[in-house]
């Protein structure tokens, strides 16, 4: 290794750095002009439950508006609202209504929004195919399994109802960042976020499918469309919310008789974004073609009343 003249190094290296810095400056310029360049892009993020619905809407919309790009992220309902309230997205998908503190965050950032119900979902309780005892569970029995007090103590089906066999209870549920978790805990345990913690939490419903498929005493929950895709592997449990056993289905979810686990799904539209023609057009398209979109994505369509409400909400965006 020769001792090279440091002067040479002093010229060559800053030159290289300068080149790199120039590249950096260029990208900096680009950053400031980026919003105009990508103005024909509609950014959607949020609930992974609603994502397939928004993606289906995007596909159908793009078929008629080829120049508009729609991207759909899956950060979870909570994560989606964080981005939404930071102004990073135009539309936020949610599997539960926005929370007060999230709305406050949006308000603090000066983000105004409109809530639109776009579909219904029936949270479906699934068990193993070999499970021949639990055909119908009451809300109280589900609470017995999932409430915080059950942690470490309720470990067998025989503890749920007299007559159930002594098979170990193996629970699969949604991760804590998901709207599904919030909704389920509220509907079953009475308090949002209150749940035992010794279950298998996952944001990936396939994990629940595989887990429940693999253990005789397993039980899990996820959206109806996910169950419909996996009917050959799992059994859905009827739920008794006080008015008798009701099976999850499009009809019972729409009618609201599948209580308390049928739920509306939302999109939240940033009002400032709706000033852009393509975002407004997309929201209008979503509501006007809701039947086609929900049937493509296998979701429960809106009832007539819900449709009227959604149309009013969209009209308010103009």
């Amino acid at each position: 290794m020769p001792r090279f003249n440091l002067k040479v190094a002093a010229v060559v290296i800053p030159a290289a750095l300068l080149l790199a810095a120039c590249g950096g400056t260029n990208s900096g310029d680009g950053a400031s002009s980026a919003p105009t360049a990508s103005s024909s892009e509609i950014r959607i993020d949020g609930s992974s439950t609603v994502a397939p619905l928004a993606a289906a809407a995007g596909e159908l919309f793009k078929a008629e508006n080829a120049s508009v790009n729609v991207s759909v992220g899956t950060s979870g309902t909570g994560g989606g609202f964080k981005k939404f309230c930071a102004g990073e997205t135009d539309i936020s998908n949610a599997s539960r209504p926005i929370k007060d503190e999230e709305a406050a965050e949006c308000a603090a950032a000066g983000i105004e929004f409109t809530e639109i119900v776009v579909a219904n979902d029936a949270l479906t309780i699934v068990v193993n195919k070999e499970n021949d005892w639990a055909t119908c569970l009451t809300v109280d029995e589900l609470k017995k399994m999932w409430e915080p007090a059950a942690e470490g103590t309720v470990t067998s089906w025989s503890q749920i109802r007299a007559g159930f066999p002594d098979v170990p209870l193996d629970l699969y549920g949604a991760g804590t960042d998901s709207g599904t978790f919030d909704y389920f805990t509220k509907a079953i345990n009475g308090e949002e976020g209150a749940s035992r913690t010794d279950y298998n939490p996952t944001e990936d419903d396939n994990v629940t499918v595989q887990g429940v498929e693999g253990a005789k005493g397993a039980l899990g929950y996820f959206g109806l469309s996910y169950f419909e895709e996996n009917m050959d592997k799992l059994t859905a449990v009827e739920v008794d919310g006080g008015t008798g056993c009701v099976a999850p289905s499009i009809e019972t979810a729409q009618a609201g008789t599948y209580a308390p686990l049928s739920r509306p799904l939302f999109i939240y539209v940033n009002k400032a974004s709706a000033a852009r023609a393509e975002v407004l057009a997309f929201a209008e398209y979503f509501v006007a073609n809701d039947d086609a979109i929900t049937s493509k994505a296998l979701f429960v369509p809106l009832s007539a009343d819900q449709k009227t409400t959604a149309q009013t909400a969209v009209a308010g965006l103009k």
Binding site: M1, F4, L19, A34, S38, E41, G73, K296, A297
Partner: protein, 294 residues
């Protein structure tokens, strides 16, 4: 193999002979087990993807109906992001390596510090580069983090240490006599580097950078952190456009409900594998064809 055979012929010490054959057998067994799992994985993935090795995998965008879905946006996204990554990481990486190897005074504390850091950075988990990039983009005030330039920046940071280290190896392999000869004939230091040392090291540098870039193609973790897990149905059309890449598309399809999406994921995995293998093939070809022996 030959060593073990020689021992068995000499056969002076039976116990030692037996032990070495046992050891060799264990080594072969380990190799066999590793290879077996690799083959099983490859074959099952290839089988799972059966039925989707068609042109529509390349031409169609992602779709919520699996029969209409393809990996076009992901394939183009991967190629675009990796190209930008290469443009960012390779010039800086080579320049840094040339400085450290040819110009830096290794007795100086700051050069020692740089050297130590580069060695360490090569072993940093990929996700940390994603966090670092997320921080940089936030500081720059970029609203959309899931943009090509962001992904490329994360991947460039990820492979930079590898580029630097392999380039330095290649430069080190150039005999000192070539530099001395060049300097003795009156060439300046810069001429020596640009006309002699660097050209002589190019095969080694090319091999190293291709391997580094192929690592970038297969990487998903830092991009996930930037929010690249999105449903995208358009070509990446600029440095500030949203994008998705093949590893992320595979990740997203494997968590879908329909089995057809898992089929697509398997087919895309095989495609990614073919791309990686051919890049490594090119690297090996360059090394064998152009590498000089002194």
């Amino acid at each position: 193999m030959t060593t073990a055979a020689n021992w068995s012929i000499e056969g002076k010490n039976h116990e030692r002979n037996f032990k070495s054959i046992m050891f060799l057998g264990l080594l072969w067994l380990s190799l066999f087990v590793a290879f077996l799992f690799l083959i099983i994985l490859l074959v099952t993935t290839a089988m799972n993807g059966m039925g989707r090795y068609d042109i529509r995998l390349f031409t169609d965008y992602n779709n919520t109906t699996p029969a209409d879905a393809g990996a076009r946006a992901a394939i183009l996204g991967s190629l675009f992001v990796v190209t930008v990554t290469a443009f960012m990481a390779i010039p800086i990486g080579i320049a840094a390596a040339v400085y450290l190897e040819e110009f830096a005074d290794r007795t100086k504390w700051y050069n020692k510090l740089i050297e130590l850091n580069i060695q360490n950075l090569a072993a940093v988990p990929a996700i940390l580069y994603g966090m670092l990039t997320l921080g940089i983009l936030t500081l720059l005030g970029l609203k959309n983090k899931n943009v090509v330039i962001g992904g490329s920046l994360a991947l460039a940071l990820l492979i930079l240490p590898v580029v630097i280290l392999t380039t330095r190896e290649a430069l080190r392999a150039v005999p000192q006599e070539i530099r001395d000869g060049s300097l003795a004939l009156g060439a300046t230091e810069v001429q020596t580097v640009t006309k002699q040392t660097l050209p002589a090291a190019i095969p080694g540098i090319a091999t190293g950078t291709i391997l580094a870039v192929s690592r970038a193609i297969g990487e998903a973790a830092p991009l996930l952190l930037l929010g690249a897990l999105v449903f995208i149905t358009y070509d990446p059309n600029g440095l500030f456009a949203g994008f998705t890449t093949m590893p992320i598309q595979i990740f997203s399809w494997t968590s879908a409900a329909q089995d057809e999406f898992k089929q697509l994921a398997a087919a895309t995995s095989m495609l990614l594998l073919v791309i990686l293998l051919s890049m490594n093939g090119v690297a090996i070809f360059i090394r064998n064809k152009f590498a000089k022996r002194w």
